[in-house]
Subunit: 137 residues, 2 copies
Amino acid sequence: MLKIGELAGQAKVSRDTLRFYEKHGLITPDHRSEAGYRLYSDSDIKRVGFILSAKEVGFTLSEIHQLLELEVTKDQKSCEDVKQFVDAKITVVNQRLAEISRIKKSLQTLSNACCGGDEPATHCTILEALGDQTSQD
Amino acid sequence: MLKIGELAGQAKVSRDTLRFYEKHGLITPDHRSEAGYRLYSDSDIKRVGFILSAKEVGFTLSEIHQLLELEVTKDQKSCEDVKQFVDAKITVVNQRLAEISRIKKSLQTLSNACCGGDEPATHCTILEALGDQTSQD
DNA sequence: ATGAACCTTGGAGTATAGTCTAGTGTCAAG
DNA sequence: CTTGACACTAGACTATACTCCAAGGTTCAT
């Protein structure tokens, strides 16, 4: 069982952020101590990690909330709903993957462009690099 | 030359957003008409597209501003600075790629988990799916 | 020559995601 | 038995990224 400061330390967020996430339903301590201190389980480190990863790749807290709420039950009905929701998210994740790859390529083109690189100094802005994505990977 | 509404329509943002981006140095119309109307060049569609892509994968407007400002000149000095900056961005982009791939896999695991899928119904939440990334791709 | 549909500016308002402060309580070490 | 590091709540404040509004000017088709 971890106190809020311990979880915060391990997950590299502030205590305030954890309380904020709790207020918004993203994470709830397993239970409270006599004194009312939040007590988290070890697996909550993973949960916070997921929240941070998902946030970093562009999901909002409310989307992350939905993802964390998902529970595929045996109930066929809810299962179909979950599948639809998840498949929609996979679609946006794929779009994001494509876009981030595109940006990565442009950055690499830009990085190779000058400074004694092999490229002629024509790709001199990110927009020019974006327009011309051929050989670099 | 495009008026603000035309650019907004093509780039699928609001006029207000374009004015907001201008205020923050992300995009400036080529020039103004006699009446003071903003007139954009065709290439500004691409510029707005870049802003939106970069935003979607988690860059802030101020980072995007920096990316757009980058100009690899022949000057060796500034060139090294640019390379450093760009290489740092490539590092974060790679991290983001890894994280988004991880999330994608979990979503796929989750999607396959039930509903007559081949997986047993053990992967029933995103966190369980995250923990167990083996065969799916 | 007038009305709709556009454009201008400045400034206020909103949503999201924290971050900080105040006032108070808890706990472990010296 | 007190001091320092931590915890609690409620609420105010901040940054980012828009979004809307008011009051007015422009363009153009009818």
